[in-house]
């Protein structure tokens, strides 16, 4: 009796196990077509040769990689890219986590209104948003700089356009929603009675935040940080407009190599290196989060 069961279940199981693969085949083909193949081609391109007059030669050399590896110019680009990404991530965690906590405690009409305010930057075109920042801070005639100068707080205008500060501020503004939503999701899984429970045991409001709420939303902060970091490090439009040609990051550098210098293989090497660095950092920190919090909070 028991021996008959597996032999009868065999073909059924075979068909059942095939179905998920067949169902995901269209999406898989699309993924291969528009993500996987272009990436493979970009990686291959980075090993090709390029000359001012001869154009791209389909050979396999390490010239571009050697150049990226040894030239201080590229080191500076990548260092700046990750410096900006880290600063944006820290800023959005420092501002976004409390923002999510306050948002979570708001009552019905206000919560919706402020959620819209927070999501606002995502709904506005990057050009309009960046020009807005330029109007506020840019040059001597920026509203904020003018106000601060006439109040005597600062003697000269705070440089905003074409500076790292400017890029960091503008990127934090647009990437903050990802952090807020991620922390908010973690907060909503929190039992609302937990804070009352801690209070009844004699904990002050600050202790409740530090010992009870924060540890439980930390996975949310960390996953938000991963999203923000990845988007900040690979952001193109904001650094391109505010950073301009003077303050390049990895993505604008790759763009310039492709479209201005026309050195596609070198641009491909820069793009590939950015991709690899991001994957290593994201997978690594994800592992860390899972190992640290997997057992407790899942």
């Amino acid at each position: 009796m028991s021996a008959a069961v597996p032999s009868r279940a065999g073909p059924d199981e075979g068909r059942a196990s095939l179905a998920p693969y067949l169902l995901s085949l269209p999406a898989f083909l699309l993924f291969v077509g528009i993500v996987f193949i272009p990436i493979v081609m970009t990686v291959l391109l980075s090993f090709h040769d390029w000359g001012q007059y001869k154009g791209i030669e389909p050979v396999f050399i390490l010239k571009n990689w050697r150049e990226v590896w040894s030239d201080g110019y590229f080191h500076e680009m990548f260092a700046r890219t990750f410096r900006i990404a880290v600063a944006v991530t820290l800023l959005s965690a420092a501002l976004g986590a409390p923002e999510a906590y306050i948002l979570n405690r708001m009552r019905s009409p206000w919560r919706g209104i402020f959620l819209l305010v927070i999501l606002g930057p995502l709904l506005i075109s990057v050009v309009a948003r960046t020009l807005g920042w330029a109007l506020l801070f840019g040059g001597n005639s920026g509203v904020v700089n003018k106000a601060l100068m006439s109040l005597g707080v600062i003697s000269g205008p705070i440089p905003f356009m074409f500076t790292e500060t400017g890029v960091i501020v503008a990127l934090t503004h647009v990437l903050m929603p990802y952090m807020v939503l991620s922390v908010w999701a973690a907060l909503q899984r929190l039992d609302p009675q937990v804070e009352n429970a801690a209070a009844s045991l004699g904990a002050s409001q600050l202790t409740i935040l530090r010992r009870i709420v924060l540890p439980q939303v930390t996975p949310g902060v960390l996953s938000g940080a991963i999203i923000v970091f990845a988007l900040a490090a690979s952001a193109f439009a904001t650094p391109a407009i505010i950073g301009g040609r003077r303050l390049k990051v990895a993505s604008t550098l790759a763009y310039d190599e492709f479209l201005n210098t026309l050195n596609w293989p070198l641009g491909a090497a820069v793009a590939t290196l950015l991709l690899i660095a991001l994957i290593v950092i994201i997978v690594g920190s994800n592992r860390l989060v899972e190992r640290r919090y997997g057992e407790k909070l899942r």
Binding site: A197, S200, L201, A203, T207, Q216, K296
Partner: protein, 352 residues
């Protein structure tokens, strides 16, 4: 002065009156249950004692001192929440130790008391487990230990057993009662489960729509419900409309056919409502002057039989112990008898 005194406690939520002039005196060491349907104000009352809701008017005093002037974190009350509200990122032992840490109890003393309390609730082997890896019953015990370890002046239990399955709930009822007896902490239980309230408490406060319907020991409240609401909420009851007959002053069941009559107190007249508990009704010989009826349905429930009997006064529910004797079958004619002492009478018209 009683240990805990709620004085005309009232809470409004906008136009809605959640708690309406509730007064209650609780003695030290007593186990009091606030019992009522959802929305009766029992949880709001508990939250006002805990300090999570501020009363609109009224006062709460604990050991003669105004409790409302004290912040929730300084009240020194142990609370077991319906959802348990354990700290998921801490082990059972860390959960229990949290309150002691907040009180500034030293490390050695803390360890000793946590170990003791976990032993009290039978969780010594689970000290290092995270709540998520524990069963509902175990989480419940951790919540209880966490509330008890701070040696609270009052233990507040908010529907503590409602998330457990029936069998476990019964076990926990017995255990909870034993633990409360052992530590002697004054306890207030909020529940909608009348069986739980009766099993655990010294006194029951039956609440309905923000008001107290009756306060009394479980047995007394069950046997002599003060209001129709208490009678129907605390266990099942049959309500029969009757009329006081002129001759002899007894109550005669209204309706067609031969009525049965029971002696009632002389001050009743006109229409009355008789309440009698299903388990107080017996089957008598058909000719013996009881309330005649026909068995509509008969349900076997293991330790007892549940009957629905069609009578002239309406459908009457009867519960009989399963003593192994043969019982009337469906469709059989029976006569229902009960002692006049087991019946309560109140004046009432057709609308009552």
């Amino acid at each position: 002065m009683p240990f805990l005194f709620l004085d005309r406690l009232t809470k409004h939520f906008g136009a809605h009156v959640a708690v309406d002039g509730l007064s209650l005196a609780v003695e030290q060491g007593e186990f009091v249950a606030l019992l009522g349907p959802s929305g009766c104000g029992k949880t709001t009352t508990l939250q006002m004692i805990a300090g999570f809701a501020a009363p609109t008017s009224g006062a709460i005093t604990l050991e003669g001192k105004d409790l409302l002037a004290v912040r929730p974190s300084q009240r020194g009350l142990g609370i077991v929440f319906q959802s348990y509200a354990l700290f998921p990122h801490m082990t059972a032992a860390e959960n229990v130790a949290f309150g002691l840490e907040m009180q500034g109890v030293g490390r050695d003393e803390r360890l000793k008391r946590v170990t003791e309390t976990l032993a009290l609730v039978g969780l010594s082997a689970f000290a290092e487990r995270y709540p998520r890896k524990m069963s509902g019953g175990q989480q419940q015990r951790v919540a209880l230990a966490r509330a008890l370890v701070i040696r609270p002046r009052i233990l507040l239990l908010d529907e503590p057993l409602s998330n457990l399955d029936a069998k476990l709930r019964e076990e926990m009822q017995i255990e909870l009662r034993q633990i409360q007896r052992t530590v002697g902490t004054t306890t207030i239980l909020v529940t909608h489960d009348q069986a739980e309230a009766m099993a655990l408490s010294d006194r029951i406060v039956v609440m309905n729509q923000g008001r107290v319907e009756q306060i009394g020991p479980p047995h007394e409240t069950y046997e002599r419900p003060a209001t129709p609401f208490v009678a129907s909420f605390l266990g099942k009851t049959n309500q029969l409309e009757a009329e006081i007959s002129g001759d002899g002053g007894g109550a005669v069941l209204r309706g067609e056919g031969p009525g049965a009559s029971w002696p009632v107190a002389p001050h009743f007249s006109g229409r009355v409502v008789l309440s009698v508990r299903p388990e107080k009704i017996g089957f008598g010989p058909a000719a013996d002057g009881g309330l005649p009826g026909t068995v509509r349905t008969r349900i076997f429930q293991g330790n007892h039989w549940l009957y629905q009997i069609d009578t002239a006064g309406g459908v009457v529910t009867v519960i009989r112990q399963n003593s192994g004797e043969s019982m009337p079958a469906e469709g059989e004619a029976v006569s229902l008898v009960w002692n006049a002492a087991d019946m309560s009478v109140r004046a009432g018209g057709a609308s009552a």
